[in-house]
Structure formats: structure tokens, C-alpha cells
């Protein structure tokens, strides 16, 4: 039994040893917004926040999730009102949408604290894979959310 704090709520979970945090979040806790894409930390679909910093959760151990604040896309805002979420809708970013939870978690951290990322910072920071190719809309949405 392990206690995890996810989106401000404590969950006491039982999971097979060695289960990555991603699968505890998805299957044990039941928050399915965080996605499985590669399992080897190269696609970014599983991105969550650990104490506010984006991390890929597919190879993260349960132990690494203990004693920290975990935030998933479901916890970004109660009403889809985070500036990044609003900008994602305004720019009509998603196509299939599968990678977008991960993209959003990286992007939201990028504008935290009123930061206005430059194009170069967006290019360097937004490393997640999107097979639908929504990158230019992602870039536009980050600028929009950051206020220009």
C-alpha cells in the first residue's frame, strides 16, 4: 500500500511491484488522460508534473511518486480554464488528440509564473512527439496563452 498525492487528493494504492507511475495513474487510480506511447521516455505522451515540473511517467517508479505532488492533465484546472487549455481550444490544436495531454503539461509548465517563452525556448522545450503534426498550432497556442 502506497499513498500518492494526485491532483491534490491522496490515493492509497496497491500495485504490482515495478509498475511505473504511468500505469498506477491510469489503471489503478483511473485517471486515463495521461497516455502510454512508448514506455521508454522518448515520446512524451505520459508527461505529468512532479511538484510542478514536467516529467515522463512511463519509467518512473511508484517510489518516485511518494511524498511529492503529482499533477495530471485532469488536475490542471477544474473547468478546463487554464490559459493553455483555452489556447489549445482557440487554436484548434488537437487532431487525434492522443499526445495532447503530454504536450499540454509541458506547455503549461513553460508559461508558469507569467513566463513568455521565445520561439527558441518553445522549440527547445516542446520535445514531445505528435504524429498528427500539430506543432505549429502548439507553438501558436503557447504564444497565445503566454499573452503574445
Amino acid at each position: 500500500m502506497t499513498t500518492l498525492n494526485v491532483n491534490g487528493k491522496n490515493y492509497t494504492v496497491t500495485a504490482d511491484p515495478g509498475t511505473p507511475l504511468l500505469w498506477v495513474i491510469r489503471d489503478v487510480i483511473g485517471l486515463t488522460g495521461t497516455k502510454y506511447g512508448c514506455g521508454i521516455e522518448v515520446c512524451g505522451a505520459c508527461t505529468i508534473w512532479i511538484d510542478g515540473s514536467p516529467e515522463r511517467s512511463c519509467e518512473m517508479t511508484i517510489a518516485e511518486g511518494v511524498g511529492v505532488k503529482i499533477t495530471t492533465v485532469e488536475g490542471l484546472s477544474p473547468t478546463s480554464s487554464h490559459p493553455i487549455q483555452k489556447a489549445w481550444v482557440a487554436e484548434q490544436v488537437p487532431q487525434c488528440g492522443y499526445c495532447q495531454s503530454g504536450q499540454i503539461m509541458v506547455a503549461a509548465s513553460m508559461i508558469a509564473g507569467g513566463h513568455k517563452p521565445t520561439d527558441a525556448q518553445i522549440t527547445a522545450g516542446m520535445g514531445n512527439l505528435c504524429v498528427c503534426g500539430t506543432y505549429n498550432r502548439i507553438r501558436a497556442a503557447i504564444h497565445l496563452a503566454a499573452g503574445g
Binding site: T14, A15, D16, G18, T19, P20, L22, W23, V24, R26, D27, V28, L31, T32, G33, K35, Y36, G37, C38, G39, I40, V42, C43, G44, T72, V73, E74, S77, S80, Q85, W88, V89, Q92, V93, P94, Q95, C96, G97, Y98, C99, Q100, I104, V106, I122, T123, A124, G125, M126, G127, N128, L129, V131, C132, G133, T134, Y135, N136, R137, I138, R139
Partner: protein, 718 residues
């Protein structure tokens, strides 16, 4: 998005007895209340439309959403004729039923860039039929003649009295009326919704984690499963060891499914671990030792001359014309196998009980899933419930049935609902790949630089042949598409195909044969232009002379991509033109050298698809196709050693990332009255040749083998 669809419980007999063809596909009198909205009553006016008392209009969409925006575009078509306020529209995926078949296929397939093309006319009629029935019911209440009424923003309005009544109030009465046989349609000039970039209804759920993709399905009592398939494609299970406590192995022929018992803490990863630990020995298919990519490619080159060619198209006398040519360009192009690599790995949830079967699957072919499940369970296809869920990308892979069959077989074996999820490694290693291709083009120019002869040979495995859908010796249309019926005016030409016998399974990859043939054709056209000393744009203009629509597309792309503008030192532009799925496309790429590869600076695309229902989702499709085409052109390659995939995850399969992105410009061109063209795939084919053509102009080196710059992509991300 995972709501039970309102019509899911309706019997097929109910549909069939009251329905005809798609356009007249009405369900009059078979009112089906929506489920789970207790306070609101809802009435199904036609099979496509139900209207609730709160004026919400639910429109059913026959295609599946895999990112292309059908929940808006198809619903817009119905709503156009229905004359309703778009903000009242709720669109939902239709359940599998013949009434929702795409007329292009006679099946409910989401494929071939065919959603708007296939459904357009029928959905206009469906909307108009419902509107006329609502008008008739409303006129009776308003005590005026139906001819005095129009549908307007969700109201039946009397023109003479100015009185009105809402659709919601008359929907129940309307549903009892006999549908009109030929409801009048608005002219395209009067469209208010078709042609508008209404927002996609699926997007809010895709920014907060609530969108339910196949992989997210959770049903009561569900157990977790994972596949372990024979590493050699085409192999089968020889022996499997005893499963450990808490795990059941199911032999599905090509491999096993490991299913976990229901217990606290069980999860998908535990199922992966159980599948990986399974001790399985394999029967390898004959000839697997020779299934090496390099061997297959060399064999393809040899088949250019030794193979038995099936003629796809011929005109004039190629040999004679080539003999008289002042210059001949003879070039051979090669393309590798490619994986679909959808972001969402394959998965399917199935529940087989003693009385029936339900499936939750990200699928492009729900009707085919019924047939697959029927064959395994013995239940009648129509009785099998396929719940629509979102697809995290389809790209042609989720048309296939292997992952459906494995889940159904697993659930049947363990007697409980099972979600079978594929590890990424299984997804890459057990794809139905874009075929490898070897294409030779021999073009002859006369002394004035006119293209007078064109011999085109494609050597590639047959997608349809491998499935037994066409016999040996018969042309495989998927192999020749994009090589035949080209618009370029070439008096003497022969196009043929040699079937490559390689057993690596091949399938329908975004744009299918077009992605192969456009690369060879448009590269060769460029080589011929350069050999003739003619600007590649001008050379194509000459070949398209007299075809105003094609020229407009070509010239629009040239203008958008600044074809004739001066370039910075070290930059070059390339151009390509190709028609597929009824659409005309031209692309101009600007690039520069970067490291051992290139940096794509800008991609300008002009697309004429006849009529655009939703310009923004249309543009999205072209933008995405360009990115997809870049990944394939620059780095995409699957390789095999003795039948075993050597690429099993994204770290070995670079795809375009933010750091690779060019600016992208898309111009959607409409041609009133033209047949509708598709949009989902049509942006792919031109990208690879336009890049190769730009590179050749920049460096003088012609790259004829894809991928162009293997090993130079970004794989790890940030």
C-alpha cells in the same frame, strides 16, 4: 465521448425494415429516446437526426474520428440542410449499421480520404428530409400550409404570419410522418454552415483528459491482457509453457495473449510483464531466413528486368518514341517499408458472454469488427455491439482486424471482459507496413525538351494480393494508384507493375500507393526538366497545358511558396504535383543544408478538393500530412532481419518533432461543381519528391532512395 450511442439498442431489423439507401435512410416512427438524460425527452426524427426537447440536435456521424474532424465536418452537412443553430448540435459516432455505410465502400469504413466525399450527398438529403418533416409537423401546429414555412435556426417559421415553433416541440410529431421522397436541397450559394470553420466538438475533451480513446476504456470486471506475437512475421505458436498462477495464456495462432486474473493492483504493465515472460516456441514460416530488408530491396531491383510485368496503362508507342528521343532519362527510385506508428498503440476491449459480444475498439472499420467477432464467437454479426471510441490516430493501421480478434478470443477464453493492449514494441514489429517499392522511370525528351515517352515500372508487394483479394497475375490497384491516369500530357506511355513476392505483411499506409508512385513520378519529372534545361515549374505547366484546374493548383502553390523569388545563399526550392483521392495537390518546399541532412524552411501546399466543408479542419489535415510526409521522406524506414523487425520503438524511428518544423502554408481551392476530393491523405505524396527536388537543385546531387537522410532525425525529445 464514450456515451452509449442513442441507437445502440435498436435492432438491425428495425433499421432495415424502414430504410432504403443512404440518403433516404430514415427511421420514421422508430423513435429512440436518448439514454441517460432523464429530464429531457428526445426524438429520433431520422436515423441521422434526433432532437431533444431542450432543442439539442444530435447528429450521428458514420465515420470514426481519428483526428480528421468528422464530428464537425459530417455533422455540418446535415445541419446545413436542417437549418439549425450550430451551437445546439451534438454529434456522435453512429453504431455499426448498414444505414451508416459509406457509399464509396458499401461498408462503414473510415478510409481512403472518403468521409466527406462518400457521405456528402446522402447527408444533405438526410438533413433536408428531417427538415421537411419538421416543417410539415410545425405547419400543422401553426395552422398554415407547409409550403408557407421554412426551417430557420431550429424553428419552423411561417412566412405569411411570422409565427414560429421550435424543432424540439414538433420533433415527436415529425417522427410519425412519412418522409418526403425528394426533399428540396439548398443551392451551394445559400450554404451557411458548409464552408465555415466551426470549432471541432471533440477538442474540449482533448485538452482536459476526458476524451476516451480505445486504450482508456474501462468496463466492470475487466481484466488486463497483452500480446506476445511471433517475432518473425507469419510465424505461429509451436509450444507455450505453463502460465504462472494468476495468468492465463490464450493461443491466438500468431502468438499468445497473456491475461491477468482479476486482483487488486493488476494493470496493463503487469500484463506486459506477463506476456514478455511467457515461454513460447515458434513455427517459423518457410523462407523467413531470406526476409532481410537488403535482400528484399536487391530482389526488387532485379525484378525490374526479370519480373513478369502486368500492364496497368498504355498509350501510343513507347519504344518507338523513346528510340526517337533526343535525350533519355533512366532513373530508379527505391522506398522502404514504413510503419504506421499511430500515437495510440493497438488495443481492443472485448466482452464475450454466453449471450453476446461487445467490443470497444479504436477502429476504422466497426462493421468489419462485427464480422471478425462473429467468426470467433458464432454470434450473428448484427448482434455484436461495437462501441465507438476515439482513435489515437488510424493512418490505415486501425482498419486491420488482428488486434480485434485477439481481444475477442481472449475474452471468450477467460469468460470475462478483457482489454488487450499492445506494447509499442509489438505495435512496430507486427504492423502491416507501407510496401517497399522499387520504381524505374524511363522518360524521353525531344529536341525541344518535350516529354514524348514515359515508361514506368513499379515493383512492390501487392497489398490486395497478400490478402487474397486479387489473384496472382492481376493488377493490384493499390500498387498502381498514382502512377496511372496522371494528368500530364505524355503521348506515349506505359505503366506496369511487377509483384514482389516478399512475405513481410503490407497494408494501407496514409495515401497508400500514391506515396510510392508520387515520389518516383515527381522526382523523374524533375530530372527530365533539368535534363531539358527547363525550370521545373515551367516544365510541369507545359505538361498540364489546357488543364485549367491543375494549372491553377500548380501556380497557386508556386505563388504561395515564392517559387520565383530570390533565395538566401544555401537555400533551394523544389516542387511537386500529384492528384489522389479526387484532389489536386501541388507543394513547394524550401530547404537548406543542416548537419548531415537538411532543414526544411517552408512548405507551401495548394489543394483543390472541389468543395471544402470546414476550411480549418481541412487545413489541419494538410498540415498534418505534410509533417507525416516529411517524417517518411527524411528518416522513415523499417528494416527486417530474417523476418524480424529491427525497429521496435520511436527511439529507432525518428519522426518530425517541433525542432524540425518548417512554416507551413496551406491554400484550399474550391472548384464549384467539381466532384468532391478527399483531404486526409492527399497532402502526403508530394512532400518527399518536393524535398528531393529541392535538394537536387541545391547540391546537384539527385537522391533517389528513401529515406533521404537516414539517422539525422530527432528521436529522444526534450
Amino acid at each position: 465521448m464514450n456515451d452509449v450511442t442513442p441507437n445502440a439498442g435498436l435492432s438491425r431489423r428495425g433499421f432495415v425494415s424502414t430504410t432504403a439507401a443512404i440518403g433516404g435512410g430514415l427511421m420514421v416512427g422508430v423513435g429512440v429516446p436518448a439514454i441517460g438524460r432523464a429530464a429531457i425527452t428526445s426524438k429520433t426524427v431520422t436515423a441521422w437526426v434526433s432532437i431533444a426537447s431542450d432543442e439539442t440536435v444530435t447528429i450521428l456521424v458514420g465515420s470514426q474520428d481519428m483526428g480528421q474532424g468528422v464530428l464537425s465536418s459530417l455533422a455540418q452537412i446535415v445541419a446545413e440542410e436542417l437549418r439549425i443553430d450550430w451551437t445546439h448540435v451534438k454529434s456522435q459516432h453512429a453504431p455499426p449499421n448498414a444505414i451508416y455505410d459509406n457509399p464509396i465502400y458499401g461498408s462503414q469504413l473510415t478510409a481512403g480520404s472518403g468521409s466527406v466525399r462518400g457521405y456528402f450527398q446522402g447527408l444533405l438529403q438526410a438533413g433536408a428530409t428531417a427538415r421537411e418533416m419538421l416543417i410539415a409537423a410545425g405547419a400543422a401546429v401553426l395552422k398554415v400550409a407547409a409550403t408557407d414555412c421554412v426551417g430557420q435556426n431550429g424553428f419552423v417559421v411561417s412566412k405569411s404570419l411570422g409565427t414560429s415553433i421550435s424543432y424540439g416541440k414538433v420533433a415527436a410529431a415529425a417522427a410519425k410522418l412519412t418522409p418526403p421522397a425528394n426533399p428540396p436541397l439548398y443551392s451551394a450559394n445559400g450554404y451557411t454552415l458548409v464552408g465555415q470553420s466551426v470549432k471541432r466538438p471533440d477538442i474540449p475533451s482533448k485538452v482536459n483528459g476526458s476524451a476516451i480513446f480505445g486504450i482508456d476504456v474501462r468496463v466492470p470486471g475487466m481484466r488486463y491482457g497483452a500480446v506476445k506475437l511471433c517475432p518473425v512475421n507469419g510465424g505461429t505458436v509451436k509450444t507455450m509453457g505453463a502460465a504462472p498462477a494468476g495468468v492465463t495464456y490464450i493461443n491466438v495462432g500468431t502468438g499468445i495473449v497473456a491475461v491477468l486474473d482479476a486482483r487488486p493492483g493488476a494493470n496493463t504493465f503487469s500484463a506486459f510483464t506477463a506476456a514478455n515472460a511467457a515461454k513460447v516456441t515458434w513455427n517459423l514460416p518457410a523462407g523467413s531466413a531470406s526476409q532481410n530488408s537488403t535482400t528484399i530491396l536487391a530482389q526488387g531491383r532485379a525484378l525490374l528486368t526479370s519480373g513478369s510485368a502486368i500492364v496497368a496503362e498504355t498509350a501510343g508507342n513507347v519504344a518507338k518514341a523513346q528510340g526517337s528521343a533526343a535525350k533519355v532519362v533512366d532513373a530508379t527510385y527505391t522506398l522502404p517499408y514504413l510503419a504506421h506508428a499511430t500515437m495510440e498503440p493497438l488495443n481492443c476491449t472485448a466482452s464475450v458472454t454466453s449471450t453476446g459480444c461487445e467490443i470497444w475498439a479504436p477502429t476504422q472499420a466497426p462493421g468489419t469488427c462485427q464480422l471478425t467477432a462473429s467468426a470467433i464467437t458464432g454470434f450473428a454479426p448484427a448482434s455484436i455491439i461495437v462501441h465507438p471510441v476515439l482513435l489515437g490516430g488510424g493512418l490505415g493501421r486501425k482498419f486491420e482486424q488482428d488486434y480485434i480478434a485477439y481481444a475477442v478470443a481472449a475474452s471468450k477464453a477467460v469468460g470475462a471482459p478483457v482489454k488487450v493492449t499492445w506494447q509499442r514494441e509489438q505495435d512496430f514489429a507486427h504492423d502491416q507496413y507501407r510496401p517497399l517499392g522499387v520504381c524505374r522511370v524511363t522518360g524521353g525528351l525531344d529536341a525541344s525538351g518535350n516529354l514524348i515517352s514515359w515508361a514506368y515500372r513499379n515493383v512492390s508487394p501487392g497489398i490486395l494480393f497478400q490478402r487474397g483479394w486479387v489473384p496472382d497475375g492481376v493488377l493490384d490497384s493499390q500498387a498502381s494508384e498514382g502512377a496511372t491516369d496522371i494528368t500530364y500530357s505524355i503521348p506515349n506511355r506505359q505503366v506496369d507493375w511487377v509483384r514482389h513476392p516478399a512475405a513481410i505483411p503490407v497494408g494501407f499506409w496514409r495515401s497508400v500507393g500514391n506515396s510510392i508512385n508520387a515520389f518516383a513520378k515527381e522526382s523523374a519529372i524533375d530530372e527530365l526538366a533539368l535534363a531539358a534545361g527547363i525550370d521545373p515549374l515551367v516544365f510541369r505547366q507545359k505538361l498540364l497545358a489546357g488543364n485549367a484546374r491543375s494549372l491553377n493548383v500548380l501556380n497557386t502553390a508556386a505563388a504561395l511558396g515564392n517559387w520565383n523569388a530570390a533565395l538566401p545563399a544555401g537555400h533551394a526550392r523544389g516542387i511537386a504535383y500529384h492528384e489522389s483521392f479526387g484532389s489536386l495537390v501541388a507543394v513547394v518546399v524550401e530547404l537548406m543544408l543542416s548537419g548531415k541532412g537538411v532543414k526544411i524552411i517552408n512548405v507551401a501546399a495548394a489543394v483543390d478538393c472541389g468543395l471544402v466543408v470546414n476550411p480549418d479542419t481541412g487545413a489541419q489535415q494538410v498540415e498534418g500530412a505534410i509533417v507525416h510526409g516529411m517524417s517518411a521522406a527524411l528518416w522513415g524506414k523499417m528494416s527486417f532481419a530474417q523476418g524480424v523487425s529491427q525497429v521496435v520503438n520511436f527511439d529507432q524511428y525518428p519522426m518530425t518533432r517541433m525542432g524540425n518544423m518548417p512554416t507551413v502554408q496551406v491554400s484550399l481551392i474550391q472548384t464549384p461543381g467539381a466532384a468532391l476530393g478527399g483531404l486526409g491523405e492527399v497532402g502526403v505524396p508530394c512532400v518527399a519528391p518536393a524535398i528531393a527536388n529541392a535538394y537536387a537543385r541545391l547540391t546537384g546531387t539527385r537522391l533517389r532512395d528513401l529515406p533521404l537522410f537516414p539517422g539525422t532525425g530527432i528521436t529522444g525529445g526534450g
